[in-house]
């Protein structure tokens, strides 16, 4: 029981952390509340299903799926979101419509049935008497690698410097000669990439269906604000907290699967009562 909770909690933490990190980056740099973020995670799972089912081997199908999702995401961003980026309300509705659009495209192409992607790494290993599936371990490994990769990109490269500068102050970054729009597009692509990797990680573990984006969306939104908007460390920690809360409720409370969203949101609201700016968010100055 405890082992199950631990393993499941860690896998979910990894997936939610990848999603929350991408979402937080996009929000921090582009000020875009991207409600379509988890739709790309769903799209990646479907892409993997289609490509792996279409006869391509997994080593070829997985990178292709990630690149395809990032490309589609960037094209949709350039077409529908970038032109209206200044209007916050319109961005909200445009990204919501994008999410519904992707859901319906998958619905039309693959029907609403639950699809199962065959695991890439079957079998399990016993670690100190606990059975850990290889697929779960691979998902967790993918999460750790991508989180470390993003950390390296942000803190050790020139591009990362530009991204952090744009997040801090767009106008000044622009005056310093950075192409702010291009940096935003790069960050969007990075966000789609992370969402796609998360989709690849879960595709063999959970059933794939067109509505699979809405539950993670709520959790990711809650995780990002729980950690504090604009703090990447906060988003990752928020994701871990909510993932473990969800797994605990599902395993320990009878009928808990109905309550898993409610409990995650209750934690978020509870934190707001004491810290309105989230766990790691900067205190909000009165905006003028």
């Amino acid at each position: 029981m405890i082992a199950d909770i631990l393993v499941n909690g860690m896998v979910r933490s990894g997936v939610y952390a990848m999603l929350a990190l991408g979402f937080g980056l996009v929000f921090g740099v582009g000020r875009i509340l991207n409600l379509a973020h988890t739709a790309f995670y769903m799209l990646a799972a479907y892409a993997l299903f289609a490509l792996a089912g279409g006869g391509l081997g997994l080593p070829l199908a997985a990178p292709l799926a990630v690149l395809a999702v990032a490309g589609i995401g960037l094209a949709l961003y350039k077409l529908f979101v970038e032109p209206v980026r200044e209007l916050e309300a319109t961005v909200l509705l445009s990204t919501l419509a994008l999410a519904v659009l992707l859901q319906e495209v998958c619905h039309v192409l693959f029907t609403a049935d639950l699809l199962y992607v065959p695991p890439a790494f079957p079998g399990y290993t016993s670690i100190a008497g606990v059975r850990v599936g290889h697929q779960e371990a691979a998902a967790l490994g993918l999460a750790v690698v991508s989180l470390v990769g993003v950390w390296f990109l942000l803190s050790r490269t020139r591009l990362g410097l530009a991204i952090r500068a744009c997040a801090q102050d767009r106008e000044v970054a622009n005056l310093m000669g950075m192409n702010v729009n291009r940096v935003t597009a790069v960050v969007m692509a990075l966000g789609f990439l992370l969402a796609a990797l998360a989709g690849l990680a879960v595709a063999p573990l959970f059933p794939v269906e067109p509505k699979m984006w809405s539950h993670p969306l709520v959790i990711v939104l809650a995780a990002v604000v729980l950690g504090g908007l604009g703090s990447l460390k906060g988003s990752v920690i928020g994701a871990v907290i909510l993932a473990f809360a969800e797994v605990l409720v599902v395993f320990l409370v009878p009928g808990g699967s109905y309550l898993r969203t409610a409990v995650a949101l209750l934690i978020m609201v509870g934190v707001f009562l004491f810290r309105p700016e989230g766990l790691f968010g900067a205190g909000i100055p009165e905006e003028r």
Partner: protein, 344 residues
């Protein structure tokens, strides 16, 4: 006789000078006379549902478009109104003229209950905190199926009126009256304060206005009207179920309002009356691609009219006088208020 002449003069000087006002008048008259032209139950049902959704969207707009407190969980008020009316009607067999106001009052209470903890939150934090409330209530609904009906919802809700035309006049009448009241609120001093809170809350407080009280008032008014819409919806569809509280129900008023144009009351009404019939038409024409085409339509239209359809149309047929900011019809040469030339 005097009042008749006064009325005619008012009509000529205040309504027909602006094409947008004439359009609103024609629209209201068309709604009133519709059952005399057709009594087709399908058309009446469509217009009733559209009117309810436009009321729901207008209530969202008062809270989010006017005061800028974006709520992503408006289904809470709609669902609380619907469930209150349904429980009172199904268990206590109260008549609709008691259950609908009760639903609206309970939803007002819900608005205050949500509004008070949300006062400390700003912008996106507020949006996501409000997102949480209907989903938490939804979890409770599923936990106690004996009381709430669980997955299947509550049945056996009494009808509002024996005939479809009666229901039409009752629902459309109430919705139109509440929307007109919201419009009146929006263009009064209160609406001005709401706009000011969205633009700059610190300046509002510096002007000696109690911003907290007005923000709570916006929550209460919005809860009241959304709750009334929910209660009427439960009585009309005669079922109150979990779909009244789910994520899509919360996003619906956002869709209608932003599509129509936020920060105005006619925007959400126009959005609902344009989009909902389109959605219904797609349902009958191409059920398989319904949501696909719907999402594509929203994306394309927002791409070219980012402020919303109603505002785009308004700016196409009217323009503001550069001197005194009074709106004039596009074809006028001089401003109707100050006489300044409108030629560029």
């Amino acid at each position: 006789m005097f009042y008749f002449r006064y009325f005619l003069r008012y009509l000529r000087n205040e309504v027909f000078v602006l094409p947008s006002r004439a359009v609103v008048l024609a629209f209201a008259l068309a709604l009133g006379f519709l059952p005399l032209i057709t009594q087709d139950p399908y058309v009446l049902r469509l217009v009733i549902l559209t009117a309810l959704f436009s009321l729901y969207a207008a209530s969202w707009d008062l809270l989010s478009g006017y005061t800028g407190q974006v709520s992503l969980g408006h289904a809470l008020f709609f669902g609380v109104g619907a469930y209150t009316a349904a429980l009172l009607s199904a268990h206590l067999r109260l008549p609709p003229y008691a259950t609908v106001p009760a639903g609206a009052v309970v939803a007002t209470g819900a608005g205050l209950l949500v509004g008070i903890p949300c006062l400390r939150l700003r912008r996106h934090y507020l949006a996501l905190a409000t997102l949480a409330f209907p989903l938490m209530l939804l979890g409770l609904v599923f936990m106690f199926p004996g009381f709430s009906g669980g997955e299947g919802g509550i049945w056996r809700i009494s009808r509002l009126a024996p005939s479809r035309v009666g229901e039409y006049y009752l629902i459309v009448g109430v919705a139109a009256a509440l929307i007109a009241a919201l419009w009146k609120v929006g263009s009064s001093r209160l609406g001005l304060i709401f706009h000011a809170i969205r633009e700059d809350e610190v300046a509002v407080r510096a002007s000696g206005i109690d911003a907290v009280r007005y923000k709570l008032l916006a929550f209460a008014l919005s809860g009241l009207t959304a709750g009334a819409a929910g209660a009427l919806y439960a009585h009309f569809t005669r079922i109150a179920g979990p779909s009244n509280l789910d994520l899509f129900m919360s996003f619906q008023p956002v869709i209608w309002t932003i599509f129509g144009g936020a920060g105005t009351i006619y925007g959400p009404v126009a959005g609902a009356f344009v989009l909902y019939p389109v959605l219904d038409l797609l349902q009958t024409a191409v059920p398989k691609y319904r949501m696909l085409l719907f999402a594509l339509l929203i994306l394309l239209i927002l791409r070219f009219m980012p402020q919303g359809v109603a505002i785009w149309v308004r700016d196409a047929i009217e323009r503001a006088c550069p001197g005194c900011r009074v709106r004039n019809a596009r074809f006028r040469r001089v401003c109707r208020a100050c006489g300044a030339s409108l030629q560029p």
